[in-house]
């Protein structure tokens, strides 16, 4: 891995200074980087953008509740071998033919350094991270069936995301760098929107951001709208060609901002919001 390479964000992804620093620290010291944050703050996208920015291939491993650590290393396809043996296939003599390589193996043996994304590690069983300690630390593992040791040719840049559904074990955490993606402030949000909608009219954007942060500030919402919902909403506003004035009038006459369905995804939230808007209108 060339140590001179540095991640600097990209034209389609706004990375804050501290995030860039965390990525570069992980890159230089060749240790995994654990990313947490509210849903919709671009955790998964980070890995894609890092890979693109550094010109490295990206390998992805999406974790489900049934995923086992072993599946990331390799699997012994006993069923095929069993079938082949009953059919008298020649391949059956070599166990190597039935070892299916997992994502980690591919990442370790790739010709060039790669970015390895382990997505939503908290979805898996509680023991899952513990089973990967040595593999991520030493970047090597042993294949019992063929008695061979797989060692990383180039240590991959491992990016792990978590939604905080389960706590991760301390031993695992100690081996990672950690970064929590905070919800962007207005300035950063402006940059993010600029990146996605370069032609958006400034007054519409300013109004939309105001409405967005107002909605986020409503206390008691079951799910606060996130960055990705804001982007969807803007896309809709553009598609419907809604003028900035329509948003401005939102805090005076009409009850809820137009196309609010893109921001509030929960019936109770919409009701709550309407009620609050109604109350504030009466107070005026």
């Amino acid at each position: 891995m060339s140590s001179s390479a540095k991640f600097e964000g990209s034209d389609s992804y706004v990375a804050t200074h501290d995030l860039k620093l965390a990525v570069n620290a992980a890159l230089t010291l060749q240790r995994p980087l654990l990313i947490k944050g509210e849903p919709g703050t671009g955790k998964t996208m980070l890995a894609e953008e890092v890979a693109r920015g550094l010109g490295m291939p990206l390998l992805q491993w999406h974790i489900k509740s049934t995923t086992k650590a072993q599946q990331g290393l390799y699997e012994y396809d006993a069923v095929s071998r069993l079938r082949d043996s009953q059919l008298g296939d020649e391949r059956v003599k070599n166990i190597d033919n039935y070892i299916v390589r997992g994502v980690l193996w591919q990442a370790f043996t790739a010709d060039e350094p790669v970015v390895l994304l382990i997505d939503e590690i908290d979805k898996a069983d509680i023991e899952f991270p513990n089973d990967l300690l040595r593999e991520l630390d030493r970047m090597e593992f042993y294949v019992y069936e063929t008695r061979e040791m797989v060692k990383a040719v180039h240590r991959p840049l491992v990016i792990i995301t978590s939604n905080n559904e389960k706590e991760l074990p301390d031993a695992f955490l100690r081996r990672c760098f950690f970064h929590y993606i905070k919800f962007p402030d207005k300035e950063t949000m402006q940059q993010i929107v600029d990146v996605h909608f370069p032609k958006l009219k400034q007054d519409l954007l300013a109004q939309a951001l105001n409405v967005f942060f107002e909605v986020r500030d409503v206390s008691g919402l079951k799910k606060k709208p996130s960055t990705s919902e804001l982007l969807d909403w803007l896309k809709l506003l553009l598609a419907e060609d809604i003028p900035a004035e329509a948003l401005r009038s939102a805090d005076q006459k009409s009850i809820v901002p137009p196309l609010h369905g893109a921001l509030l995804k929960n019936e109770q939230d919409v009701h709550l919001f309407e009620r609050l808007m109604f109350m504030s209108r009466n107070n005026r």
């Binding site: 140590s3 620290a25 069993l82 955490l173 990672c176």
Partner: protein, 389 residues
């Protein structure tokens, strides 16, 4: 120097380990960051802190440690930079140093504000005004032992602000919780086990059996893996619990979706001989408490939810209930529950700090062998660990 920093973090009760500290040093050695305090803050945070709940503690400890090295505040914008150019370094004897005025931190800040109001021009070499090379506590390159550095190297406005803002205060684990957080805490209780009809192909077993069978297929089945934990939840409703409805609701809905084998009953203030399931029909539809105690197996985990705030008579005295004449005291019923179900806890939505001032809380806590926990993330976690032991 950094060793002190490490111990400052340790003292702030941050779970930092030596390994992580060594990684931080390694990163410094490899020049991951340029020489700025701002970057050092981010690097040390990403290396040493592995939970956003600890970010606030870290900010405080970091601020404490680097307090003397670079402290700035918003007013700084008003100081023109050219005042602070290094012009003179006056040599001071130790006696002179000691003779310098020593202010406390707050006094320094107040005084700085005062001075900012008074001072309108560049100043050098004096002992009161803000400037360079003097012995006043303010400015750059000066020699007051408790001085505040303004501008110059070593300080970076945005950096200090990052931890001074303490933006992560809300993530501290003392915070109250949403349904989602409660679910996470409750998941600690999950116990997976295979029970019931065998309707899944047991692949590993089949392969082993087939191998034993000299290669002829021998199918093996197994039951599906299910969460086996059984929960009995008893919730206090009405009266003083009205203040906690939202939180109790959250807790309840989270628990309901996490556990299939969950039974719940309501009581008012303390458990007596009847419980009910539907609060609206509480007088029509009652369940005998004896039946409830007998119905569930002893490995059921019992969770009381209530503020335990009532008159002590309601717990200790037969006939003490506010609603009707109970034959046996609430304490007797509580003891029956706790002896039948050895895994029990009491969750109390009142803040933990208040408990010592309420007599009834103390009594119930004693009856619960001290297994009373507040409804915060941290409290729930302690509670769930207690239940799963």
């Amino acid at each position: 120097m950094l060793i002190d920093f490490f111990f400052t973090l340790k003292e702030a009760k941050l779970p930092v380990s030596i390994k992580e500290f060594l990684v931080l040093l390694e990163a410094m050695q490899k020049n991951v960051i340029s020489n700025s305090l701002d970057e050092f803050y981010f690097l040390s945070r990403t290396t040493l802190v592995k939970d956003e709940a600890h970010y606030d503690k870290f900010d405080q400890a970091f601020g404490l440690y680097f307090h003397g090295i670079a402290t700035l505040f918003e007013k700084i914008d008003e100081i023109p930079l050219d005042w602070l150019m290094k012009r003179m370094q006056r040599e001071l004897t130790p006696e002179q140093q000691a003779a310098l005025e020593k202010f406390g931190y707050d006094k320094l800040m107040d005084r700085l504000k005062e001075l900012l109001k008074e001072q309108k021009e560049r100043h050098e070499g004096g002992n009161k005004w803000i400037g360079t090379g003097g012995t006043s506590p303010f400015g750059n390159g000066g020699q007051n032992p408790e001085g505040i550095r303004i501008g110059g190297e070593g300080g970076n406005r945005t950096a200090v602000k990052v931890w001074e803002q303490r933006a992560f205060r809300d993530y501290d684990s003392e915070r109250e919780l949403g349904t989602r957080n409660i679910k996470v805490a409750l998941r600690r209780l999950r116990r997976f086990a295979r029970e019931g009809a065998q309707d899944e192909l047991a692949l590993d077993d089949t392969i082993r059996a087939t191998a034993n069978n000299a290669g002829w297929l021998d199918l093996r089945m197994q039951a599906e893996r299910k969460n086996k934990v059984k929960i009995l939840m008893l919730m206090d409703v009405g009266g003083t619990m009205d203040d906690h409805i939202a939180r109790a609701e959250e807790l309840f809905s989270a628990a309901k979706s996490e556990f299939k084998n969950m039974e719940f009953f309501y009581f008012h203030n303390c458990v007596y001989e009847t419980l009910w399931k539907n609060n609206r029909r509480r007088h029509a539809e009652r369940f005998s408490t004896w039946d409830v105690i007998r119905k569930y197996p002893p490995d059921t985990k019992l969770i009381f939810v209530g503020d335990a705030t009532m008159s002590p008579y309601e717990v200790l005295q037969p006939g003490g209930s506010v609603e009707y004449n109970n034959e046996e005291a609430g304490a007797v019923w509580l003891q029956r529950f706790t002896s039948t179900f050895p895994k029990f806890i009491w969750l109390n939505p009142e803040p933990e700090g208040l408990w010592q001032y309420r007599q009834s809380i103390a009594i119930i806590r004693q009856l619960m062998s001290n297994r009373m926990f507040p409804v915060t993330i941290e409290g729930l976690e302690r509670g769930m660990t207690m239940l799963s032991k």
